[in-house]
Symmetry: D3
Subunit: 278 residues, 6 copies
């Protein structure tokens, strides 16, 4: 099964039933991202999204860091900052196309029908936040060093951090503090403000927690899990009234699942619950 997920710079494994583990694998560069990597990331999660054998995903980084962020050197050699044709307006249009494409790749994490649990350890700068904010649950370790790093290289973070932070963390004073100063902060602070919901002692403890949570989620009705992720993401962006109406339409179909019956019966019969694939 892992063979179907052969993407450069990523390891994909299946450590438990219905659980996938995606690991960024460029440890010699602290998992810094170059263009091929975000395209691979996107292709990979688009596939996980519709894979009937996957019900929850853990996302982490190999080596000493989750990711140091964008590989600025590669980017400056690549297309992003390439000389533009003719004038600033044409250059602007090229940049706009490029940013939208990059954003779309990272948004694949959010659009993945299956919940994604992100483990952040060590250096977690810049793109580390863009990506982890596209995931559903964030777990960090005692040694995680976070930074919304972008102002330090002269730009406003544009791949999602600034758009998702105000909807992920309810503390605008803190968000402005770290985003305007690019200062490094640790897990204790991240936990206090709600950027992460759990902090583990070290990476292996964090991976263990993440896999356990993924296994719990994978043991639930995939119809119920899919709907919970979708409706929470929808409601985050909409009024309560819109959220309620959307939920009613969504569940008009989804309550017709056999999983409700199976969940109840297995409980009464005290046997392991078993849901059909999605």
């Amino acid at each position: 099964m892992a063979e179907a997920y052969n993407y450069e710079f990523f390891n994909v494994s299946f450590p438990a039933e219905y659980v996938a583990h995606v690991e960024i694998n460029r440890p010699e560069k602290l998992n810094a991202f170059k263009e091929v990597m975000w395209h691979n990331l996107s292709a990979l999660f688009d596939k996980l999204s519709v894979d009937p054998n996957v019900r929850a995903v853990v996302f982490s980084g190999a080596g000493r860091a989750f990711t140091a962020g964008l590989d600025v050197q590669a980017a400056s050699e690549g297309s992003t900052f390439a000389p533009a044709p003719v004038d600033s307006a044409r250059k602007a249009n090229g940049l706009r196309r490029h940013i939208l494409e990059f954003q779309d790749c990272i948004t694949s994490l959010e659009k993945c029908e299956k919940p994604v649990i992100c483990v952040l350890h060590g250096i977690s700068f810049g793109l580390a936040l863009d990506m982890s904010l596209s995931c559903d649950v964030r777990i960090s370790t005692a040694d995680t060093k976070f930074s919304v790093k972008e102002v330090d290289i002269g730009l406003a973070a544009d791949i999602g951090t600034l758009s998702r932070l105000p909807h992920a963390v309810g503390n605008m004073s803190w968000i402005k503090d770290v985003a305007l100063s690019a200062r490094v902060f640790g897990s204790e602070e991240a936990l206090r403000v709600g950027l992460v919901s759990r902090v583990a002692a070290d990476k292996s403890a964090a991976m263990k927690e993440a896999l356990e949570l993924a296994s719990v989620i994978a043991s639930k009705s995939p119809i119920a899990v899919l709907g919970t992720k979708e409706i929470l993401n929808y409601s985050r962006d909409k009024t309560v009234a819109e959220g309620l109406n959307y939920t009613a339409v969504w569940n008009a179909a989804m309550l017709q699942t056999e999983d409700v019956k199976e969940a109840m019966l297995s409980g009464m019969q005290k046997r392991k619950v078993k849901f059909a694939k999605l």
Copy 2:
């Protein structure tokens, strides 16, 4: 006065001036809800909303629990999961009607013009969250056991929890964690993430705090309290600019209250303030 509020499965009393107390009263079933109960709840709060003798409401559960949630057995015997006519589409439309009606009943708590303070103690599963998230202030006790229980019975919570949580708690990682896993959590965690704003030692202490807060609110200008609840609910769902404009139109009428003068005069005259009924 309490006689006017004679609804099965609910006790209504008036423990202080302008303060109503609504108690769910089906303790032998841990206050599990069947259909008649949410209709009664709605009718009851629609009446409190316009009752000139009520300025704040406390909402709690009798017995060992706030509520164990939906009475699944009653529901499975009732209309919700009844065999649908002819095809899945027609069944879907029936379910949609049913969900919208159920949601509307719970939304009565939010639409009530008077603030509602919810006391959650003991088992507070499923519908406990849907209902308490429709209230204004949430107080729990040292022994409260919370769970967004719905995924455990094969469905995405559809009566409000998933639509209201992202607007009540600013910690999306935690929201996803508990909503996708259905795990039980306690008051300490609920306080840390902001699901509740106060935790009391036990139920009687919680009730005392709730009644004191309700009495404080009931002692304020009912015009000011009404506007504060309405504008906060409106602004939660809208942009800051929309919130400001709405506030201006709202207060164009509401600043013309005699309560401003009364509030100032009573302060200068060092006498008890007395506001006209709404």
Copy 3:
């Protein structure tokens, strides 16, 4: 340079390179606001917004308090509560005009292109919250006394507190608790719920922290800082998808800054970074 900022009831100084300090200066009245003051505040921040020599602003109050809020006595003598012409509808229109104008003045803090760090100390009631919620970062002191005071004088807060609180603090239960009761709370509580992101021991420590943060921000690319503030404010009010699209259009122009190159080069050359004026 300070001479250009000669506004009654405000001291403006420039304590560090590219950093402005605005101090409310009516200490004998605990910095209570009368009408001329909010007009001056607005004019002052509109000028700072486009001043190329300013990249970050600290905002604080002289004397024993940040501000006791609206000078109710001055207001009652002034236009707000003046007898209205003819009927309630015409009075309402006059009030609406007045509120919108007052709100616009306070919104100047939010619209200022440069980040504003607010230091709240001592009494910080009513308008103190309206104003500080329009700022980017809030720092308080061990002795700060906060109150959403308006219900105590018979009205719903209308200059911004109720519209901005639900987008600044992710704890609706707490917001309702303090806004409906007008109770006084302190810095520990403010920090826990995320109303402020830092608490200092006393005012001079708070000013020191604020100036240091302002200096850090002022040392970054002004293009990056401008974009970060603008996109965070935009995204706070919009869906994630809208935020991403806006960011792409914004950065299509803003990535064409020389600051990116300067930030990288100065890093490699281990010299102080130097950005052109905005």
Copy 4:
């Protein structure tokens, strides 16, 4: 069947299979509305909405006019303009409750799951527009006299005309022209700007057209008709992207109808199509 629809001031009949006809019946007062009438209207359409024997509705007025609008005399004797208690703010809250309740009654026409075709003839002033804009299709006659009459009695139309006109007619200059002047206009103008989509020679011709259209609609799949009305109303109010997403969720359930097969088979077998009840 008509017996179940016994509401004062309304005649309800069933002139064709699955087609209901609702007629306002107070011809001696040109069908002017008093309070009981809009409550009856609402109750009536809420019932039609879920009646499995109804798939389309025609709505018209008995006598010489569709309706002259609000019965101002009855209103002035009734609660609307009754002396308010104590102060303008309390009066405002009473008016707000009253307007919201009145609006909800008229919105029943829009919320009715079955399409409503409105026939406007003769005097069609004020409330005539509020109501007909809540319907799906508007047909008028050569002699219809329309007027957004409200400014003539000193108020801005508040039961729906001003909120629905800009979403029903794509000609804001014309909308402002008639709404600000209250001038009377005829069917030719109404057809040109798109307020009505058909004009018939006289009332009997209009009724004939309306019933034929209703019969056509009633002959289609009720699942398809329900979805078309719902998605068009939803999309009118939302962005194209939101409309598309909602449609996808809606049809995820609704495409599972047997009606698709029946529609195809009946076509191939050249027999009358027959759909199950909703």
Copy 5:
């Protein structure tokens, strides 16, 4: 009274009771706009907005044309296209400030509390559309030549035409046709698609119609007229549900006008109606 409205390039007169007439007065340049003119326009309409002696405004151009649009020569000499400091990003920020300021000036027409009737005759290019789309009613003449001219000078119209056209005219195919081609079109086409609601034979006939309409509007309750303009503008931009709620809050205050009584009494007493000033 006209003396209070002494603004260069504009004639202001008061041709009828409560009616103002604003005329663009730079006929030797076909009323082409330079920067001082849009600032004057804005100041002028901000004053009319709160002038109790004005209840409706007619807006037209002196000489052979309404306006040929932006005075491109003046603009190219002025600040708009001035060499930018240092880099494209800083230039972009300067342009953004400039465009926002220019837009705000034109939006004064829309924000004016009193309805504005625009008469377009002769050349009506570019800014002619930006401005007239900010007005409430548009009347043209047999010889009006319209053009969304901006693509012809290399830019997308940025002062309002592209944002307001889709909300003023319900024919997106036609909007794209004229906005992408910059082709000139006449009054017949403008009337057919709903850009204007009336076409007069020539300018004097158009002025006569405009003044008559303004007089009719000025004879109505100013409270009713104010509300009708405000609610229509609000509803144009919002969902029907939001429009209804806003209307209810608005009218909670505005129905408390004496104008309702005066409108009814004057009708019964068959005398001229007389409303108090706003």
Copy 6:
């Protein structure tokens, strides 16, 4: 150049400078669409969108019809109506994935950076409307037969018609009339209500008009044309205030084009204007 656009069932040619012509080419089936066709359509327009040699596109159908819509027979054999796994909820999720994918393909027409002019002739049913409403300008012929056909096969149109019609045509009564009845209508009616903006005598006349319009658009600044399409689509979906702000950010970059200078100089020098490629 045409070789790069080798997609089955489509002919692509370049009849004029910077103008592409895309022709649906399955005339033996009245251009009915099967799955491969909408994927090809999408790929094709995604390529045109970024092709520097293309500035405007004409889209039409080969043979006797624009398109008869979905190839229902192929669809019923294909995946859409395939037996679903296990239960209705899982089937619903499969359908949702399928609809979203299909919608995305058609939205490629709208997302194409270059304006698309659609020529509709002969049978133009179902998908013909979904696709043409995704285009910018619609031109039809004397013999075009339109129908929102979907209710006739038991479903609500789900690939865009219902979401885009209310934003393309300002006549909701007419939209409901044709969408609920599936009745066939002609070009005269389509022109009157604004579904098309031009009607030509026959197909060759329509193609001539479309190519002339495309050539005019292709002769303008590509920066100006790109911005005009983008801002109009954005503004269609947003409030006027949001549209204005977006325009300001957009033009902050795009006004820095050399095209403004070139447009002015070529005018003064009376020579053909020549713009750099995008």
